[in-house]
Symmetry: C3
Subunit: 337 residues, 3 copies
Amino acid sequence: MDFVASHILSVTQFERVDIDSVFSVADRMEPYAHRRRVTRVLEGAILGNMFFEPSTRTRVSFGCAFNLLGGEVRETSEIKASAIAKGESFYDTARVLSGYSDIIVMRHELAGSVAEFAEASRVPVVNGGDGANEHPSQALLDLYTIRKELMGRSKGIDRLRIALVGDLRYGRAVHSLCKLLTLYEDIHFTLISPPELQLPENYVQEMQQRGHEVTISDQLESSIGHADILYLTRTQEERFPSQEEADRYRGLFRMNQTIYTEFCEPNTVIMHPLPRDSRGDAGELDNDLNENPNLAIFRQTDNGVLIRMALFALILDVVDKVDSHSREVSWNINRRF
Amino acid sequence: MDFVASHILSVTQFERVDIDSVFSVADRMEPYAHRRRVTRVLEGAILGNMFFEPSTRTRVSFGCAFNLLGGEVRETSEIKASAIAKGESFYDTARVLSGYSDIIVMRHELAGSVAEFAEASRVPVVNGGDGANEHPSQALLDLYTIRKELMGRSKGIDRLRIALVGDLRYGRAVHSLCKLLTLYEDIHFTLISPPELQLPENYVQEMQQRGHEVTISDQLESSIGHADILYLTRTQEERFPSQEEADRYRGLFRMNQTIYTEFCEPNTVIMHPLPRDSRGDAGELDNDLNENPNLAIFRQTDNGVLIRMALFALILDVVDKVDSHSREVSWNINRRF
Amino acid sequence: MDFVASHILSVTQFERVDIDSVFSVADRMEPYAHRRRVTRVLEGAILGNMFFEPSTRTRVSFGCAFNLLGGEVRETSEIKASAIAKGESFYDTARVLSGYSDIIVMRHELAGSVAEFAEASRVPVVNGGDGANEHPSQALLDLYTIRKELMGRSKGIDRLRIALVGDLRYGRAVHSLCKLLTLYEDIHFTLISPPELQLPENYVQEMQQRGHEVTISDQLESSIGHADILYLTRTQEERFPSQEEADRYRGLFRMNQTIYTEFCEPNTVIMHPLPRDSRGDAGELDNDLNENPNLAIFRQTDNGVLIRMALFALILDVVDKVDSHSREVSWNINRRF
């Protein structure tokens, strides 16, 4: 895949070699994201950060990634005031907005909307989430996190043992991560969910056809013993027909320090696409794990910045100029933790 | 008119020579808007982009124009949370906000609000639309588009033949464009609308007093044969007393490739202030014209960035410094179309 | 207090010497805020301007202050779309967002929320207002204004005579200002309010314990004769149990030019934390005082930018680099007033 000037719409665009490219550029972004140096390589470039479905953290993460490369961000955070709400087509919106910026990130609740938008856009478009369909930068940051966490243990993604827990039916993050993982070798997937919220059959079939091992379970404790990675999810309440139906699955799988100690191998990495529901009855991932060094959930969101910087640098073809446009940091960077 | 440090509130501020100034500066902004070069002339300057009535595209267009000159943008996109909603006067809002930025763009649904705000502001104010009243940068970009489109045909704005179609009563864009056009010579206006939505009489009188030819019609097909420019509009539904009344005019005038081919001269330019309603029953400007090279609607919005850059450069008096603060573009600018 | 990398959560963090530091840095920010020079000292730094409770002017003021130092701003302006609304804890929100920016300003309607957020944040956090609790930069800008206004009269804050008028029970700005003032010597506080809206008893006790003089009154005209500073407030309607109850106090204390002339000493400075309610029946501060040179309300908001620049410069430890990263202004800075 040639990243230069291309759209990023779906994880299906990526082969292993493409993922390797993104990850290797992401690694090179660390000094800038961690503030050991500042780069101004995109000074003068403009990102159109078009969130027609609200999402504070994903929007801010993309915006900060662009700022960290030296570019400017113009943005919108909801659809209400937009021309789309007055009956404008994605074609028109894309033709207009792509005259304003050098690259666009778009999020919209309608599956397929971003691809339709990208077809008419005159600048590259990155899918920031199109409803139940795709959110490719989330899948890439999840996989990048898995790679980084296991690297410290001298393991790679091949032969990974991963347990995916919770709402596997509606969870877009899980679907996209599974698609990427099938590109690797000998993965052991353990799919833990209530029967009604199982991973759709086509994902399971593709896993098996590619030679991966798949175990399906509706019991958490007995199924997580051999996992390298425990990938927990919240119930995607907004995708359910009714709140009542969503509530039936609330608090069904609970992970906390006691369960972790009893049932997991030492050093099992805990991941979650966030936000986690911290209200008492949810319990999908208890706060008593916050000090557990294997809790990787905030390293995940940190990695999101690196992945998004890498995508921008690849698409705008500045990877090899990032360092030459860099300089020392002028302010105090003592982080508190 | 002296642009330096002045407010831009109304098209009535502009004489022909002023319009020429804006257009000539807009021409000089093209290398920056089209990313052949980057300028940082306004590095350190701040635009207060104060949209108390939401409008994603106009807000983003102004913001990008300021970013393209190297400046920063702070903004608001709605009135709900503003002090105005708590009973604060425009005087107070202006005194406060004008202490924060170097120049302000303001939009508010109330006619006259921006002028009232400007009177109290300590920095220059550009009217980004005050209800049914004025939206001067829209009129300037429309006229600039007309000039550019006809230039390719060795025609100027004098002796232009323009057909204005649709809701001519409530369309702010049409009113302001008409005011500007009357400054030129021997225009032939063809005003096509339902009788209830005709252009207000005072505009027609001014056109005639200045020696322009005016034809009034309620038939589209028979009236567009000799137009250089076909300027279509959507019904300003939000200005009607009721949705029911607005709906009576929905789909009344339809323009599509078949009608264009049969009734227009070849190369008649099609314009529209956007957004166009692309839902099936509206049909004011059919998608089958999207590939017609005479469809200028997206060149219009692109020109909006040039016009807004020109206004900022004139008001902040940096026109002659834009090039000397410029440099090469560091990223890939291969646009896809 | 060591400002470097520290949170600013409450006025109780400040001793007199700390306030002196902030004010002395604020003084040094004037050339940049008044556009005599531009500094780029924070070029490449990112402020996370997280307003989970809307407040256009405070948000824009913080954002502009950061821009004036050369930094970038990523922001949110409401809670609706945030993960907090989906049950995410402040701990999680802080861990995530603090991976995106170099410093965070946070506002949230819940008292104590910002401190809870700061505890989990990996970057310094400035309290932009946490409900009825604290808004430290407002108190600092008020005190800075008092100092500046009196300086022209060769007076300092010690031995100040200040009349505080209106809703002293719920007014967060008044509470924080009183706390700061008690750090000085021999202040004479005149507290003018309806009996039901008196300053909470603990504030009065602390004033008296520290040797200040306190006069309590429910009459405006007879109590303001010897004040250096008249600090008026609006009724905090949103903090009352019902609108009906809030309305009982509407228009109770009126200040206008006639009352000022008759009852105040010449040159009594008028302050107000804004917004003031300019609808007819409120009358807390009449527009006929707008041209009175002792009306300091817009100098207050201007000073807010200086104070916020000072806080950012102190926390990020760039105070001594601001000038060395500066240059001339490239655009026209003729303000109109």
